[in-house]
Symmetry: C3
């Protein structure tokens, strides 16, 4: 199985699928092709939240603002999975999650003379994903195309801070429903479901699920990712709370 994730929109992902299917008969599964454009951190968040639900697979990931520069193309082997991606950190958080207590390994892809300087998804990463799939996740590193490397780009998510009764965090992403997802783990919530909390000064009910409130009412909840979220029952949390990616959040 090869999964595909990118910020390409349409129809560029289809060219990657053609390239892969011309080289192997892997089952293809789209994860998403509308990751926030050239936003490596948001994409890294979504990959970490979604890919661990898959059985061991090759994951092709292309969010690549540095396409055509000398940034490396890499394959990460982690927990039975292989992730093919640019070396910009986008795949590191999910690699840590997949590897768990184990280490993950990073391999540089030997790239020679790609057809284009602007579409390495098609010309570099898709062929590499097919080669990893064909060789096998346990064996691909024996091929000359892949060379183990020690240095790679990292990205990390900001840590929340707890200062007495106050918890300070940051908006990591806003999902398609308009739910605002923070970096504050649910365990950090200092009030119980059914109570209220101040969100940047706005007194807000804390609820286990949306439909305990009337449509249109804002709430604080712990989302499916395990993080504190700011939402509106059948509405858009980002509008109600006036929050976007990177904004600071103060819970009191």
């Amino acid at each position: 199985m090869i999964t595909l994730s990118s910020d390409f929109g349409s129809p560029y992902p289809a060219a990657m699928k053609g390239v892969i299917l011309d080289r192997c008969d892997a089952r293809l599964v789209d994860v998403a092709h509308d990751f926030p454009r050239q936003d490596v951190r948001s994409s890294a968040f979504w990959l970490r939240e979604v890919l661990p639900y898959f059985p061991p697979a090759v994951h092709l990931v292309v969010v690549d603002p540095g396409v055509g520069t000398d940034r490396n193309a890499i394959v990460i082997r982690a927990g039975g999975h292989a992730i093919v991606a640019p070396d910009n950190g986008v795949a590191i958080p999910v690699a840590r999650e997949l590897a768990g207590a184990d280490e993950f390994e990073v391999f540089r892809i030997d790239v020679t003379d790609p057809e284009s300087s602007t579409f390495h998804g098609r010309d570099v990463f898709a062929p590499a994903a097919a080669e990893v799939y064909e060789a096998g996740i346990g064996q691909f590193h024996a091929r000359a195309t892949f060379e183990k490397m020690a240095d790679y780009e990292e990205i990390t998510f900001p840590e929340p801070r707890v200062i007495g009764q106050e918890t300070r965090g940051e908006v990591l992403v806003v999902d398609d429903f308009g739910n605002v997802i923070s970096n504050i783990p649910g365990e950090f919530l200092q009030v119980d479901f059914g109570e209220t909390i101040e969100v940047n000064g706005m007194e807000t009910p804390v609820r286990k699920t949306y439909a305990t409130l009337e449509p249109g009412e804002p709430l604080v909840t712990v989302g499916s990712h395990g993080y504190v979220e700011f939402a509106v029952n059948q509405g858009s949390g980002d509008e109600a709370f006036g929050l976007e990616v990177g904004d600071e959040i103060c819970l009191y």
Copy 2:
């Protein structure tokens, strides 16, 4: 085969796919993940129009404004198909269509302690769809997970009324082309193709197909669903007629 339908946008459907593929090797087919958000009736319309074209399959349907409440999760067996969905009526119109002259059966899914209160697509419905697929559409009900139930939520579509030369109906959905689809069956049209009819007072040509008019011209036609539609050749019917979902239509 397992089909997937939701109002989740992206990338949440991929988590459901991961969960399913981690449990079984079903072929997955996306129906749509952009059903009008938390709009049970519109989603029910689209399911009824699309799913009957599929061969017998497991259909995973998640449009679920009541997620995390005590609403049931159900499986409906109808005409060789199985539909896994929340018990909010979304799957009833298509179940009737698939069952035809036969009865359909409804089974409650025994849900114990899902990982989240906000993403039962991933934590409840996807695992249930995989279990139904693995057990077989004819056999799954023998498992303890599924218990036959008699009471379930229904939704119905409004009926059109004919009063002499006047036909009154309602807008059911607007499609991606901007075609306005009503609840008035094509047989109720009291004029022939080539003639005109008054739509809420606006004299409009009735045509069998779009391209018999110039680009930009509004028309009344009988769409691929068999219902009277209000459209514009190479344009948007909803804009031209000023109609949206739930609006009343009077044909004269």
Copy 3:
């Protein structure tokens, strides 16, 4: 394998998939369903850029402003591929590309009494694609459903003109990134990467790739299609250059 391309948005493509899977067990691969609506030329461009990356396959293509009129439905056999499409020229540029030095052949589909006048994707083209797939790309023409024909609709792309140091071209499409793709082949660029060129009077750097400039800076590059493109590093070329499909471009 059957690929699917259309301007249908959602969920109409799922009805086509149901029809196909009810008739055969082909692997289905979505190319795109958001081609510019009823825009035959832009769709023809994208098909020519994407389909040649696939191994031999049946390609179902429905961009069909003339649906329900007496325009023909056709199958084109080219270079081991078969393309099922309306006879409006949409599939001709890719057929030429796939055929290469060989000729391509065009067959009329015998269409009898489709269920609808407005959704031939479901009622005519999807069944024909399944029939071609079942019969085989090399054999389908032996069936009575398909009749060889000599006359078919063509579309062509405008040719660029070089007048001394000036090159005049046209915007063919704008992609999802906002990159403006012209009909001017990269070889026609009369300056080297690293230099500048006037685009409709605006002095602009010419670069091999985006990230050699600061985010937000406009550039001229040669895109993955081999054509001159007008882009912005991590931004939208169409906005920065004020260009849309069909606009004239003068490079000096």
